[in-house]
């Protein structure tokens, strides 16, 4: 059974059609990269999957682990193992990273019929996963993303992913705003979490990230649809030629 299957998805925002019959399938163990020029609906796709409610679903279906994803509230999707690493993580003053993650992790565990982690075990896990993305433990006491640099925010997203161990992670431009070292740290985190049971969808503008996280498939999205799919060599081709040839091919 596929992990995620999107069929003919059409989505509007404020009456404007963004996704125009989107088809996509992800199986366990796979890493997909979605590339494409600005404004083609990549982030919309990520937000629709995560359950943001300002989008209007016009047509199509999204099946996640055999269930209708579009009917699930956002929090249930997360508990079912779907994770979105935000393009622009928000700052939440006053809520500490530790308290946030503890609440989050225990909600997810409850959904999986696991007992809540006690404080010591939780802390142990947190330290271990923080080390994975090279985050200093002092950050655990800081408010969620408050005063974080762009790179720290993105690392925090990957840290949260490491904590929640999702089945399907969607990384929305997690590489933008990262310097080369941070890029390595983030990629390394993702690579360590990869296994045959889970899958990643990586939305990116640059081929650079794909040097570190080797994708099984690369898709090019244009005008609300996937217009081209291939192996990782497609990413090199895009890097070299830009998106113009894709645009020309799909001129209509």
């Amino acid at each position: 059974m596929s992990l995620l299957k999107i069929e003919n998805l059409k989505v509007n925002i404020h009456g404007k059609e963004i996704l125009k019959g989107f088809n996509f399938e992800v199986n366990p163990g796979e890493v997909h990269a979605i590339m494409g020029p600005n404004g083609t609906g990549k982030s919309t796709l990520a937000n629709v999957l995560a359950g943001k409610d300002e989008y209007e679903i016009i047509d199509g279906s999204v099946t996640y682990l055999g269930k209708n994803l579009l009917e699930m509230p956002a929090e249930v999707r997360a508990r079912e193992g779907l994770f979105l690493a935000f393009q622009y993580p928000v700052e939440i003053p006053g809520v500490s990273n530790a308290n946030f993650m503890k609440t989050s992790l225990n909600e997810v565990r409850k959904h999986r019929n696991l007992p809540p982690l006690d404080a010591m075990d939780f802390l142990q896990l947190m330290k271990e996963r923080a080390a994975l993305v090279d985050i200093d433990k002092s950050f655990l006491n800081r408010s969620v993303n408050e005063g974080f640099s762009g790179g720290e925010k993105k690392r925090n997203e990957v840290f949260q992913m490491a904590m929640l161990e999702p089945r399907l992670a969607v990384l929305d431009e997690t590489d933008s705003g990262l310097d080369i070292d941070a890029l390595k740290v983030v990629s390394n985190g993702v690579n360590r979490l990869r296994n045959t049971n889970n899958a990643f969808v990586i939305i990116t503008h640059y081929q650079r990230l794909l040097n570190y996280i080797i994708p099984d498939f690369v898709h090019v999205m244009y005008n609300g649809k996937i217009v081209k799919s291939g192996g990782k060599e497609l990413a090199y081709e895009l890097e070299e030629k830009g998106y113009d040839w894709i645009k020309k091919e799909n001129w209509n």
Binding site: P73, A74, R77, A78, F100, K102, T103, S104
Partner: protein
């Protein structure tokens, strides 16, 4: 409204006939002057600018009586036990319907050093210099403060000598026993703090019984040179409680005031908090948090007078307003002529939880000197959708997400309370009300890994 006023006029006649005060004394004269003023002015009406949003209509609906001051106090430890803070070893002063209850008042070992007592007794025994009774000349007249001074009211009279570093806080607990009747109680506190002291003060209000209580409490707090004072005004009473406080603070050279007004419950709360810097190098930090629901009303009026150069004031009031509740914030900063090098900041933030909740907020700056830094800002809004979605995207449902965010909103103020046990107690109250677990054990462990 006139009903209570008439009762007060009658009770003044009783006072005149029975008082032990010398009719020529300054105290007596002061009382008479204020009584005349009160008879003329009465209770505030909404035409009074400072009471524009504050309606005293409850005085028309509830028939308040004035407790018989000749009656002995009757509350026992059992009555008040549940209202006291569990883990705080404080010096407790208990007042019952406007009268000190000596049996429940518990002053610890330093009694020899500081003077703690009943203000009424002190005045009657002539232990006070007359001008100590009225030091409100710096601040504008307030009708309820006038009413407060129109009688010989009891309250705490505290003198702290120079150099006192008090570990245990002073806790002034005002009880209204309304098991038999609706009562109007007045209290007047005078707290004089000497030089280089370190003092913490907690004030709390409690109604015992189902009938209504209306309390009018005035406090004069005079802080000496280089002293450090923590002042916590806690209002977590019931739906039959109507509270008015007037707090007038004067600060001398190099003194620091940290105040927090926490209003969690009560049918009607009005706090007037006024402070003035009488010398240079003073610092005042006003903090406030209110969380009102149902048909409750809370109103914070603050006034910071900068009368000398080189001083700082910092004010942050935050509020959550639920159901049909109404909140008012009016913060005024006045920088008098010839007081340059002032830093004065003010901030008021409100979160409305329903469409029927109301906030009236008004920051005011009046600056008569050049070379000062002042700012103010007020915001009112709903919880950020983006924040809620972020938490939902991590498996946290909407209700819990909202509760976490509101708890965090309150935390900024509550964290400023420097008595740890009190801070935790209030945090617990708020978390409980929001239905979020605040895992203190977890927090402690976290502290340890810092």
């Amino acid at each position: 409204m006139n009903n209570l006023k008439n009762k007060l006029i009658d009770s003044f006649q009783d006072f005149q006939n029975s008082t032990k005060l010398d009719k020529n004394s300054a105290s007596y004269q002061n009382i008479c002057t204020n009584f005349e003023k009160f008879s003329k002015l009465g209770f505030p009406i909404i035409k009074d600018e400072e009471y524009k949003y504050t309606k005293f209509t409850f005085l028309n609906n509830i028939d308040f009586n004035i407790p018989d001051k000749t009656k002995d106090t009757s509350l026992t430890y059992k009555d008040i036990e549940s209202f006291l803070f569990d883990n705080i070893n404080s010096n407790l002063l208990v007042f019952e319907n406007g009268k000190i209850n000596w049996r429940l008042t518990k002053i610890q070992s330093f009694r020899k050093v500081i003077i703690v007592g009943s203000l009424k007794e002190a005045i009657e025994n002539n232990e006070l210099v007359p001008n100590e009774i009225s030091q409100n000349s710096h601040f504008p007249d307030d009708k309820l403060n006038i009413l407060n001074q129109a009688f010989l009211n009891d309250g705490a009279f505290i003198q702290i000598p120079d150099g006192t570093d008090l570990y245990e806080p002073l806790h002034l607990a005002f009880f209204s026993d309304t098991r038999n009747d609706n009562y109007f109680n007045q209290i007047k506190n005078i707290i004089n703090i000497g030089e280089c002291c370190n003092i913490k003060i907690i004030i709390s209000y409690h109604t015992i019984g189902d009938k209504n209580s209306f309390s009018n409490i005035s406090t004069d707090l005079n802080i000496g040179n280089f002293s450090n004072v923590e002042f916590y005004n806690l209002q977590n009473d019931s739906n039959n409680s109507y509270i008015i406080t007037n707090t007038n603070i004067s600060q001398k050279r190099g003194s620091v005031l940290n105040s927090a007004a926490i209003s969690l419950h009560g049918a009607f709360i009005r706090n007037n908090l006024n402070a003035i810097h009488l010398d240079e190098m003073c610092e005042s930090n006003y903090n406030g948090f209110y969380y009102v629901d149902q048909n409750n009303f809370v109103d914070n009026h603050t006034l910071m007078i900068h009368a000398k150069p080189n001083c700082i004031s910092n004010e942050t009031y935050k509020g959550i307003i639920d159901d049909n509740a109404v909140a008012v914030f009016n913060g005024k900063i006045l920088v008098k002529p010839n007081s340059p090098k002032i830093n004065a900041y003010q901030k008021n933030r409100n979160i409305l939880l329903t469409d029927t909740a109301t906030v009236n907020t008004k920051p005011q700056l009046e600056i008569f000197t050049d070379d000062v830094k002042c700012s103010h800002g007020a915001t009112t809004g709903y919880l950020e959708k983006e924040h809620i979605f972020y938490l939902k995207a991590r498996g946290i449902d909407e209700d819990r997400a909202r509760a976490l965010l509101l708890n965090a909103f309150a935390t900024e103020i509550i964290e400023k309370i420097k008595i740890d046990e009190l801070r935790d107690e209030i945090k617990k109250d708020i978390s409980k009300r929001l239905n979020v677990e605040d895992d203190f054990y977890f927090c402690e462990i976290l502290e340890s890994v810092k």
